[in-house]
Symmetry: C2
Subunit: 249 residues, 2 copies
């Protein structure tokens, strides 16, 4: 019986340890269930992906999904074409102080048709940004016509203010969920997940968990081989089965 | 005996599942060993942290450590002052197409004293960038005088070319380790870790694993409470014990 116990403890030790070796966060037992992506056709053309930026935009919530979606060009044909859009082309200062030159100004330039709109969080997405009628109207119009709309962290406040999330399950930055529910009591907000996909909306928790919603979109559109290649290039041990998420099919 | 098995399987299931709930990657068994940071004094002044950028810089390897180190100002006093440095102040285009205005040009401006030099990877860090004698000399000089030098991904090639890594254990992007060893056969290169800390050098694997080397530095300098707060703000379930790393004490 002692030997039997020893085997069990060894198995438990291996199980507990397995999350932190070989660069990975994989839990082997979970790979046995297989997530079924919503059925979508592989895009026949390069999708235009616009990242909406403004003063106070959080670096990681801009760059994490931008990196994933831009890297599609190395793993599928045709991949995505990513660009930044702000109110004007004047330099934007991120929350962390990075000075960014927007590719387009939505009030000053003719924009390419936007297939995917990504709204990273910014410093004032819970207050003054929501009063920026011009920006909210841009998001409403673009979100209406886009095939997919993604928010990271408090970007969900902007989508909600534009009325886009009504009738959709969604999420936001974990600590801001109470404020989100209070401001938009009509919304069904999911806690404890890295992202929610419902209809054309993918809303993410944000921060360092801003890679996964984009990897999910990449795998849904371009397949597992492409997503795995992108993930490897960014030192992410990607398996859609292992990511805490909510997908309304 | 059947019941006994059922309990064991339940335990195994819980163990295997534990990595992927509550936003976390934590493996409870590993928290029992406690990593001892090298003993350093908390900085009495705000440390100046320079991020070296150039055309082809990879977004995430710039922004992940920048976010961690900039956010110190919300969790300790005095925190860090982060800024970008390029050859000149002309706009830099990242590998993914983000257009960045550098804060300083090292050939054109008087720079603040640099306490921490961070070298993110860039597209040509394995070839033409290594022939940029002016850039390599800037890195050598700044690296010599800085208190800490961090590289992400192929940024290690730049540090090695500047002669900074001689006699130090180090790492780089996993797929580039063979090329790194071939180019710099005198170096002792560690595989299978997210970062290596030896002396004043912290070299990271890069990609999405570019948050952890910076969180490690933040915790070493400012303590666990500060690092935990920064991590929470970026939706990272941080525990230094769980990160695959090599620290030469």
């Amino acid at each position: 019986m002692i030997k039997y116990h020893a085997v069990i403890f060894a198995l438990l030790f291996i199980a507990f340890s397995s999350g932190c070796i070989n660069m990975g966060e994989r839990s082997p037992a979970e790979t046995t269930t297989s997530f079924q992506f919503p059925a979508v056709s592989k895009p026949a053309k390069a999708l235009n992906v616009a990242f909406l930026i403004m003063d106070g935009v959080y670096n990681t919530e801009l760059t994490a999904p931008m990196d994933i979606l831009q890297h599609t060009v190395f793993h599928t044909q045709p991949g995505m074409k990513v660009f930044t859009v702000a109110k004007t082309k004047a330099p934007v200062r991120s929350f962390e102080g990075l000075r960014i030159l927007p590719d387009y100004g939505y009030t000053t330039d003719e924009l390419p048709p936007i297939d995917v709109l990504v709204v990273p969080s910014a410093e004032h997405h819970l207050d003054t940004d929501l009063e920026d009628a011009e920006m909210i109207e841009f998001v409403r119009k673009t979100g209406d016509s886009a095939s997919y709309v993604m928010s990271l962290c408090d970007g969900a406040f902007v989508l909600a203010q534009a009325g886009l999330l009504d009738g959709h399950l969604c999420t936001t930055f974990p600590a801001d969920i109470p404020a989100f529910r209070q401001k938009f009591p009509q919304l069904d907000v999911k806690e404890g997940v890295w992202f929610v996909h419902h209809g054309k909306f993918i809303t993410g928790a944000g921060g360092a968990k801003s890679f996964e919603p984009a990897l999910y979109l990449a795998e849904m559109l371009y397949g597992k081989k492409a997503a795995d290649g992108i993930a490897r290039g960014l030192v992410i041990d990607w398996d859609v089965n292992e990511v805490p998420k909510e997908v309304v099919q």
